[in-house]
């Protein structure tokens, strides 16, 4: 045990229900900005969101078309593999159930890909059943670029690196293809409640 720094407590953590805090996490009131690269800035009139890959027919929405989809308010807790958790984050977005409605596929896996080249992989079943959204608002205001705006993926039941910022597409695949951080030793699935941070967890 390293020497204790007398009187150091860390940030006074708000009183929270421990049942909301996954193992090894601490709650923060801040919203740290983490990224693998510079913030992309895509003009809305050249932005599109697509669903492609192992599907009968690829889908594509322009920004206007995306905003016209039924959106809902979402309030969730988020958990970052770097050990911070933020509770009661408020977003607005379109459920993946809505986006995938009518999509015919045999594939079980999805690669989410973003402006700037970031990718992350998920099981299709992690995106459906009311557990994932493509969100374009945070805290009631348009999603800021540093937090992934204009739109990002939100999959709160997995570590937050799976919630790809600057989302531009979801490619359905038959084979599971590790994404950016998964290929750098992070867990393929990433369930914070089973503390699946790293590859051999």
């Amino acid at each position: 045990m390293p020497p204790v720094s007398r009187g150091f407590h860390g940030r006074r953590r708000p009183d929270v229900d421990p049942a909301r805090v996954p193992p090894g996490q601490y709650v923060t009131p801040d919203f740290p900005v983490l990224s693998a690269g510079p913030t992309p800035h895509t003009e809305l009139d050249s932005w599109s969101l697509q669903i492609d890959g192992a599907v009968d027919e690829a889908l594509r929405w322009s920004w206007e078309e995306f905003l016209a989809l039924p959106a809902e308010p979402v309030m969730v807790d988020i958990h970052c593999v770097t050990k911070w958790s933020k509770l009661d984050t408020a977003w607005t977005g379109v459920s993946l159930d809505t986006l995938l409605d009518g999509v015919e596929t045999e594939a079980d896996h999805v690669t989410a890909w973003s402006d700037g080249g970031y990718t992350t992989n998920l099981a299709l079943e992690d995106l459906i059943g009311g557990r994932a959204w493509v969100v374009h608002e945070y805290g009631g205001a348009p999603l800021e670029p540093e937090h992934g705006g204009p739109a990002r993926l939100l999959v709160p039941h997995l570590y937050f690196w799976k919630s790809a910022k600057w989302l531009r597409g979801l490619t359905l695949t038959s084979a599971d293809e590790p994404g950016f951080w998964e290929a750098a030793g992070y867990h393929n699935h990433g369930d914070p409640w089973r503390e699946q941070r790293y590859w051999n967890d």
Binding site: A36, G37, P38, T82, P145, E146, W181, A184, G185, Y198
Partner: protein, 91 residues
């Protein structure tokens, strides 16, 4: 809104661990643009792990996964590692 990146100097402790010696002065030739710059000058981004990018073209130089008891490292580009006279093979 500015990016919140640092630079190779800011993650020097990580780079030093990987190379086993002072790393910020090591020169890297970029695989994408061919520019040669010190690792200390590379921009450093903190995500789940740390990513260093070429200061000239932003191509990824090093991707470092930070796990519990080890690092997972992917290098790109070519490094120039200076030898001290006593280390030169064959003398």
């Amino acid at each position: 809104m500015s990016d919140l990146h640092l630079d190779g100097n800011g993650v020097a402790w990580l780079l030093d661990l990987i190379t086993g010696a002072e790393a910020t002065t090591t020169l890297r030739t970029c695989q994408a643009c061919g520019d040669r710059r010190a690792l200390g000058d590379h921009r450093a981004y903190r995500g789940a792990g740390v990513v260093l990018r070429c200061p000239s073209c932003q191509a990824i130089a090093v991707c470092i996964g930070i796990q519990q008891d080890h690092l997972t490292v992917r290098w790109h580009g070519t490094l120039r590692v200076e030898l001290l006279p006593e280390d030169i093979p064959g003398g």
